[in-house]
């Protein structure tokens, strides 16, 4: 955040050495632009993607916590963005969230020749296994786990998958929609009519998640596939954002600040911090644009009346 007379605690999270490759790109809150196309097996014609992705991300300690246990990954070139919110019985919360994002990306890359659904399933399973194995290898990490929310853009489709209470939102045509349903105690109470939304806001069960990676051998994510339209803005976030910031304010940030994703991301973080910043806050924002036609070589001067007419008609 810039030196504008307001600042929040720096992200002091420790990065384990085994995810150095990821860490090098992940900890920077940078912006990447890329055509959303994942490499295809050789020989197969890649579908012409008519869209581009712009990505920005931030992860912030918040104003109360001492460690950042969230992780995120953005790989705009491959169209992969994800956030994870680690938790632990003793320690290892940040280990779990980083293992999850790193393993997810590796597995998606390895599974490029699978159908998106199968590849996503395999990637979540791999992340789950990686956490369980690491916890078995190091008893101090026993009981660690993490949420994980993924948006994987492939041309004009996006695969959304999640476990836990990290969310994916979509801003489209003036409306904010939530594309994920929390795996949380409060969500299940709401769905069963056991709790009102007013109660859900103040409930002390808000921190209870009912499904995470790292808790059991079998762990299935919720999966969804959606069409991607130019003008869409996607937001992936941990509960440090959505627990404190109302949907209306999230919508305002995505709408008004869409042309400047870095500002959108830092503003969402600032909103959560203004409301107490009680948890780590991680956001990834993705804007979808129509790909501009590559600039052609300057055309010869239009000749005569028809040439003049053609330029007028924009043909």
């Amino acid at each position: 955040m810039g030196g504008s007379g307001w600042c929040f605690p720096a992200n002091r999270a420790r990065i384990p050495s085994y995810v150095n490759v990821m860490a090098a790109t992940r900890r920077r809150s940078g912006r990447r632009r890329a055509a959303a196309a994942i490499a295809r097996p050789e020989g197969e014609a890649a579908p012409m993607s008519r869209i581009t992705l712009d990505v920005a991300a931030r992860s912030d300690l918040g104003r109360v916590r001492s460690f950042n246990e969230d992780s995120y990954v953005t790989d705009a070139e491959r169209g992969v963005v994800a956030v994870a919110d680690g938790m632990a019985e003793h320690k290892g919360a940040e280990v779990a969230s980083r293992l999850a994002t790193a393993t997810l990306v590796q597995s998606l890359l390895a599974g490029q020749n699978l159908a998106p659904r199968a590849a996503t399933h395999a990637a979540f399973a791999a992340a789950n296994r990686a956490i369980l194995e690491r916890a078995r290898a190091d008893p101090a990490l026993k009981g660690m786990g993490t949420t994980l929310a993924l948006a994987w853009f492939q041309g004009e489709r996006v695969s959304i998958a999640h476990v836990g209470d990290s969310r994916v939102y979509r801003w489209r045509a003036g409306r904010l929609e939530r594309l994920t349903t929390d795996h949380s105690f409060v969500q299940s109470q709401l769905a069963a009519g056991q709790m009102t939304s007013a109660e859900a806001r103040v409930s002390r069960s808000r921190q209870l998640v009912t499904r995470v990676l790292g808790a059991a051998e079998q762990m299935a994510p919720d999966l969804g596939e959606h069409e991607v339209l130019a003008g869409d803005v996607y937001l992936l976030c941990t509960d440090g954002l959505h627990d404190l910031v109302e949907d209306g304010d999230i919508a305002a940030a995505l709408e008004v600040l869409a042309p400047n994703l870095d500002l959108a991301a830092s503003t969402l973080v600032a909103m959560a911090n203004d409301r107490g910043g009680r948890d780590n806050i991680s956001v990834v924002v993705v804007r979808v644009d129509r790909k501009r036609e590559p600039r052609r070589a300057p055309e010869p001067e239009p000749q005569g009346f028809f040439g003049w007419l053609r330029t007028k008609l924009g043909a």
Binding site: V64, R65, A93, G143, V202, S205, V209, A253, L263, R275
Partner: protein, 223 residues
């Protein structure tokens, strides 16, 4: 651990920790919290643990159960709530709900340990509520020039100024005041000076220029 601190007509009666998943309040012998008065029903109300919340239920009592002055059938207890039964007052004290030094730390406990809460994986109890009573500034932008006299309400988190794809800025309403930033195009000017990137705080009377449009920030007196 949460507890109820009881008083009657200003006199302290003692306090009860809520240790069980269900605690009955009433006149009958053997209930968890016994209030000895004929006007109290034998089983008057109950507090149940649901997830990390205590839910207070009135058990169809003759004279009703009130929380903070309102009669309730069911109520999610929050730190500081006062339960009134006849002239007994039971204050709900739950220090866990006040944000600790390490905030809302994330922790797992295994499903098998989770007891009554249908085995959710858990993190530490959430602090009580979001800070919904944010104090926000009240202000408007007065449009200068040809459109003079027109006002733009600054009653939302973000208000856009200028034109997309051109000179485009935004005003951000925060507890600390109003802030302005360039979103795209040339930076907006405040009192004639282009502002550096990122949010810059505005003061009452600041003259803002975005593209050819000019505005003056007017703030309501803080209440």
């Amino acid at each position: 651990m949460a507890k109820l601190v009881a008083t009657r007509a200003g006199a302290a009666l003692g306090s009860w920790f809520i240790e069980r998943d269900r605690v009955v309040i009433g006149r009958a012998e053997g209930v968890g919290i016994r209030l000895e008065d004929q006007a109290v029903s034998k089983q008057h109300a109950a507090i149940e643990l649901v997830g990390n919340d205590h839910i207070l239920h009135d058990l169809d009592s003759a004279n009703g159960t009130f929380v903070n002055g309102t009669r309730i059938a069911r109520h999610l207890m929050r730190h500081g709530d006062v339960v009134e039964i006849i002239d007994f007052q039971l204050r709900y004290v739950d220090h866990k709900s006040v944000v600790g030094q390490d905030g809302e730390r994330t922790m797992i406990f295994h499903a098998s340990d989770a007891g009554t809460a249908a085995g959710p994986l858990g993190r530490s109890p959430g602090a009580d509520a979001r800070a919904l009573d944010l104090k926000l500034p009240e202000g408007v932008l007065r449009v200068a020039g040809q459109d003079g006299g027109r006002e733009i309400a600054l009653d939302r988190a973000l208000v856009a100024l200028g034109r997309r794809g051109d000179e485009y800025a935004a005003i951000f309403r925060r507890p600390q005041g109003y802030f302005i930033a360039r979103v795209e195009g040339k930076p907006p000017r405040v009192n004639g000076k282009p502002i550096p990137d990122d949010w810059q705080r505005l003061a009452a009377g600041d003259l803002i220029q975005v593209g050819l449009e000019k505005f003056e920030l007017a703030l309501a007196a803080p209440r």
